[in-house]
């Protein structure tokens, strides 16, 4: 690496400039599948953040011990451990959310966002930087999932986080809490972010 970025930058890049969903288009399966309400988006985002942060710190700490040939296997074992921890935690303490998220919590293990961060960042950087990087990526993921979930919940059920926003006059757009709504909303969000970036580049 030519030049070390500032620590703040390490965290902030995941929020927008290298946002895992909007820019890198990573981890789209949970993004599309569980965001039919804002609370589900938050739960998924938090679980993913927990997994990516913990595994980044661990892998970064032991990066010099892991032989190059078995690094992917090692990463996956570490990630799977934290995913199982998160899954059991949700099932034990928030059973309702665990039920709503269904198989997508165990499926965090195959979220390419997480393995991608280990391969691209944690295996080459110190634990401190890896922590910040993973936290930024996790926060960026969480933010997009929350926004996506909030938009879909607002239009699909007339509420956000179960608080009714739109009154009785509102006819819920059923399609928004169905799979097509996820694709439509995500597509428009990505389009919007591209548009903003283009505007910024021009200015």
């Amino acid at each position: 690496m030519a030049k070390k970025a500032t620590l703040m930058r390490e965290y902030a890049k995941g929020l927008w400039d290298e946002n895992p969903v909007l820019i890198s288009l990573l981890g789209l399966c949970p993004t599309l599948a569980v965001t039919n309400s804002a609370i589900n988006g938050i739960a998924m985002g938090l679980a993913t953040t927990f997994v990516v942060v913990s595994s980044s710190v661990i892998i970064s700490s032991i990066r010099k011990v892991i032989p190059h040939q078995v690094r992917i296997a090692s990463y996956i074992v570490v990630i799977a451990t934290f995913v199982t921890v998160a899954d059991r935690f949700l099932a034990a303490f928030t059973p309702e959310i665990s039920k709503a998220l269904g198989p997508y919590v165990p499926l965090i293990v195959v979220n390419c966002l997480i393995l991608g961060r280990q391969e691209a960042f944690s295996s080459k950087n110190s634990p401190g930087r890896s922590f910040l990087d993973a936290l930024g990526m996790g926060t960026g993921f969480l933010l997009v999932l929350f926004v996506l979930g909030a938009i879909r919940e607002l239009l699909g059920s007339g509420s956000i986080l179960n608080f009714t926003i739109l009154g009785d006059w509102f006819m819920p757009w059923m399609v928004m809490i169905l799979p097509p709504g996820a694709f439509l909303t995500l597509g428009l969000l990505i389009g919007l972010s591209n548009w903003i970036n283009e505007r910024r580049a021009e200015a």
């Binding site: 032991i62 090692s74 199982t84 921890v85 099932a91 169905l178």
Partner: protein, 197 residues
């Protein structure tokens, strides 16, 4: 140390640590998960059976019955009815009189019907007075010769219910699942009784 030995050693170590962490974490969370599952079951059985002190589990020919007891008397039998809905599996808990003559209650445990339409088999937010009107219809229903779902008209007989407007398929699915489950349950439960006596 050569590379292969190092590879084996490191992977083994990581896996062992991971196993250790997971087993201790499981020991901590498993009782809570099990407790939640039992609570859910107790609640579902309580919902569908008439007032009872306790229930006991009876296995019969691969089917599980939850027999509600008031003292020594059997007040009702609850069992699971599982079948295909519009999009996926519907799991319901059904409560019946001990002689299978009348349904005492129905509760939908799991379903993946279309949100806002088929999900009305659980709760119907458009019906402010009684969001559970669909499942409530089954209380006191006599499944003889079998349950029928009517579209756009009020039920006349003891074996008829009204289907949900716009979710005819989900309503019919519930009725079909019930009809076959009640039929099976009656046969299986009665066969165990004969063996005992």
């Amino acid at each position: 140390m050569n590379t292969s030995a190092k590879m084996i050693l490191v992977l083994t170590l990581i896996t062992m640590i991971s196993g250790g962490v997971l087993s201790s974490w499981d020991g901590y969370t498993a009782p809570k998960i099990e407790q939640y599952r039992l609570e859910q079951l107790r609640q579902a059985v309580g919902d569908v059976l008439p007032a009872h002190e306790d229930y006991e589990k009876v296995e019969a020919d691969g089917m599980t019955f939850y027999v509600g007891k008031e003292g020594a008397a059997t007040v009702g039998i609850a069992f699971l009815a599982i079948g295909n809905g519009f999009q996926g599996e519907i799991r319901m808990m059904v409560g019946m009189r001990p002689d299978f003559s009348e349904i005492t209650g129905l509760s939908v445990l799991e379903q993946v019907e279309t949100p806002g339409l088929g999900t009305k088999i659980v709760t119907d937010p458009s019906n402010k007075e009684n969001p559970d009107w669909f499942t409530d219809q089954f209380k006191g229903l006599v499944p003889q010769p079998k349950i029928e779902a009517l579209k756009n008209q009020a039920p006349q007989n003891d074996n008829e219910i009204q289907a949900i407007t716009g979710a005819t398929i989900s309503s019919k699915a519930v009725v079909d699942i019930l009809n076959s489950a009640i039929e099976q349950a009656r046969k299986k439960y009665n066969s165990t009784k004969e063996q005992v006596s």
